[in-house]
Symmetry: C2
């Protein structure tokens, strides 16, 4: 997939994890699977779990006996802030989408 390009756009993994957990409790491996669908490439465990640990230590997510993670109240607040920022930065997303005629992925 995605050929060799120059800007790698690192840096929205924890944001996406928060977003995914907003909709559904998930385990680490479920998160890994879902991320793969989005990115096209599989993140290594050495990427996912440290992020989960960081988010947990920061009090943004918690896990239950089954290792299913979900958002805390703070996590929810922080997610909202991030979404706000995100749409301020990318305020012209619609134009961008039109530009490349991006056919809805995954509908």
């Amino acid at each position: 997939m995605c050929g060799h390009t120059h800007c790698k756009m690192k840096g929205f993994l924890s944001f996406l994890i928060l977003w995914m957990l907003k909709n559904k409790k998930m385990t680490g491996s479920e998160i890994t699977d879902e991320m793969e669908k989005r990115k096209g490439r599989r993140f290594s465990p050495g990427t996912i779990y440290p992020v989960l640990k960081k988010l947990k230590d920061s009090g943004l997510i918690i896990d239950d006996e089954e290792k299913k993670y979900s958002l805390t109240e703070n996590g929810e607040k922080e997610l909202n802030i991030h979404i706000e920022n995100f749409f301020r930065i990318f305020w012209d997303l619609e134009e961008m989408r039109k530009h490349c005629k991006c056919h809805e992925h995954r509908k």
Copy 2:
């Protein structure tokens, strides 16, 4: 602006610069100004100019006598790839926007 949060979401600066240049020739300082509007915070010159240099060295952008940068053909191609990837990763943006009732920033 944006209070202290945990995930910093670095990593879309060169992407955004390519996108901005798609629409309009710009100088370094114009790019800095525009980025400030998006991010809410001013990037330091030590951030902007190295990125411009990298993009130029990679043949994605060129500058004219007036130091106005614009996309090359390769730059255009690469931008399109990035946009494709972007919308695959964030395929559920609409849901996200609805979720936070993000009032359109900036018209």
